[in-house]
């Protein structure tokens, strides 16, 4: 009981981020942009450093920089598709370098910055939790509001464009939402692991269900459950919550791919018996 009274802001924040990150991840993974989540994390790191330097909220810094970074990457990728991976690399490493330089100039190379690298969900205050929760709801509302467009573009971008969808605007919207997700998620699992929460639950869900809609819903459920279980285990075992949450998700992936294989073997055996 006393643990719960201490942990509830962490659990609520973890659950909301755990649900929101894979909801965006379902679309990002589909576009073979898995690395973008990671890259936006790098970019958000620069935002945090700049935020700490300027004395504004690090979350605000990360939000602004990650959302702008998402839009910038998309624009540059489109202008020069052959150089896409170089564009990503420039953005990512440029951001880390910026973060390191800014942090050293401002003397914030300290616990503060490390907290953002590795997450600090157990120290989330109710006020921070409210901010995280509000942003997570914005992300989920964005996915719900643009569901038709995002799904059609994820399935077949060219067909979506031919059908009259503003595909470029949708891509920009998705990148902004991904930037938001990273900025919010870094509070819970840290910059280094936030992309994991966008990607791994989607892998779990893909092994278990068929449709896009079920994949999205199941991935969000897996993400939320991993966060809650991870925080609980971390509290008991006194381990780092961010790493524990992600390890729970990795375990879920192993389990899900086992289930998929077993199902496949069963179906083959049934088919063999029927023949």
């Amino acid at each position: 009981m006393s643990a719960l009274s201490l942990l509830w802001p962490a659990l609520v924040a973890g659950m909301l981020v755990g649900a929101a990150a894979p909801a965006i991840g379902t679309f990002v993974v589909q576009k073979r942009l898995s690395l973008v989540g990671d890259g936006l994390g790098h970019i958000a790191f620069a935002g945090v450093a700049i935020g700490l330097w300027l004395g504004i909220s690090p979350l605000a810094g990360a939000l602004a920089v990650a959302a702008l970074g998402g839009v910038g990457i998309d624009a540059l990728r489109r202008r020069n598709p052959e150089e896409a991976d170089m564009v990503l690399a420039l953005f990512f490493y440029g951001s880390i370098a910026t973060a390191v330089v800014v942090a050293s100039l401002s003397g914030t190379f300290n616990v503060n910055l490390f907290g953002f690298l590795f997450g600090q969900v157990l120290t989330v205050t109710p006020a921070e939790m409210a901010a995280i929760g509000a942003l997570a709801l914005v992300i989920l509302a964005g996915v719900a509001g643009l569901y038709r467009g995002l799904v059609a573009a994820a399935i077949d971008e060219e067909a979506a464009a031919v059908g009259g969808l503003p595909v470029r605007a949708l891509n920009v919207g998705l990148m902004v939402l991904a930037g938001l997700t990273i900025a919010v998620g870094m509070q819970v699992v840290g910059i280094l692991l936030v992309a994991a929460m966008m990607v791994i639950p989607v892998g779990v869900a893909r092994n278990l269900v068929r449709s896009f809609r079920s994949t999205l819903v199941a991935a969000s459920a897996v993400g939320a459950a991993s966060a809650v279980a991870g925080i609980g285990i971390a509290w008991r075992a006194d381990s780092a919550p961010s790493g524990t949450i992600v390890l729970v998700a990795v375990a879920a992936y192993a389990l899900a791919s086992g289930v998929r294989r077993a199902r496949g073997a069963l179906a083959r055996r049934r088919a063999g018996e029927a023949a």
Partner: protein, 255 residues
């Protein structure tokens, strides 16, 4: 034909096929890849209600012409228009159904056949898919004989089945203009004939059809126009003359 109120009905004049201009129009369109010129100043008008077939040798530029016509490729010179609007216009595109030559859907996409087909109805990005979308997608799958497979993952289907899914996707979008690029290449003969009937019926209901094929095949009876693409230019072939050559076309390709 469709009980659900479709968007064509919502667009003034679309259901009757009447609109501000020809369904599809190329004005002096030229196009070149780095490897060389493909289209050399093509003028073409396909009026609402027509059933036009574009034939031509492999590599003559049929796919390129279609992609320019629907705004996927920008012409080097000239202009492509749909319903009297620039081909990139989102409103014009919402009235277009397109079946590409090859499926462009990654086998890894975790989407069901039904979801892929329903996505053809996403003319606006907002909100969720609705029961009417689902019903239209199921109807379209029935028309291509795939109703049974609606719950399967798209990646589990064979190439020929996926091609039929793309046809269903175009049908489900309630198009005023259907643009098809060799839609039945790699599809079995029975499906081809059933599909030709579906196209003929749609055309009689007022849907304009512009289709690329190697031969007149099963659609010969429905055609109002035959166009031959040759060395970057289009020749009109009188339909009666083209029909007489059906046998020749088929012999060349029945293998």
């Amino acid at each position: 034909m469709s009980p659900a109120p479709d968007r064509r009905a919502a667009l003034p004049g679309a259901a009757s096929g009447a609109s501000a201009g020809p369904a599809l129009e190329l004005r002096g369109v030229s196009f070149a890849y780095e490897s060389g010129s493909i289209l050399g100043g093509i003028d073409l008008r396909v009026a609402a209600g027509e059933f036009a077939l574009l034939v031509g040798a492999n590599g003559s530029g049929k796919t390129t012409l279609l992609r320019v016509a629907i705004g996927l490729l920008a012409p080097a010179a000239g202009e492509a228009r749909l319903f009297g609007l620039p081909a990139g216009d989102l409103g014009a595109r919402a009235r277009l159904g397109y079946v590409p030559q090859r499926a462009a859907i990654s086998p890894r996409v975790p989407a069901t056949v039904l979801e892929v087909v329903a996505a053809g109805r996403a003319h606006s990005p907002y909100g969720f898919f609705r029961r009417a979308d689902r019903a239209a997608a199921e109807r379209a799958l029935g028309r291509v004989g795939l109703a049974r497979l609606s719950g399967r993952r798209i990646g589990e289907l064979s190439g020929g089945q996926q091609q039929r899914v793309l046809i269903a996707r175009a049908l489900a979008s309630d198009p005023a203009l259907l643009v098809l690029d060799e839609p039945t290449a790699g599809v079995d003969r029975a499906s081809q004939e059933r599909f030709a009937e579906v196209l003929g019926a749609l055309n009689r209901d007022g849907v304009t059809v512009f289709m690329v094929a190697h031969d007149l095949g099963a659609v010969a009876g429905s055609l109002t126009r035959v166009l031959a693409l040759h060395q970057g230019h289009i020749d009109e072939v009188p339909v009666a003359e083209a029909r007489e050559r059906v046998g020749v076309f088929l012999e060349d390709h029945s293998g």
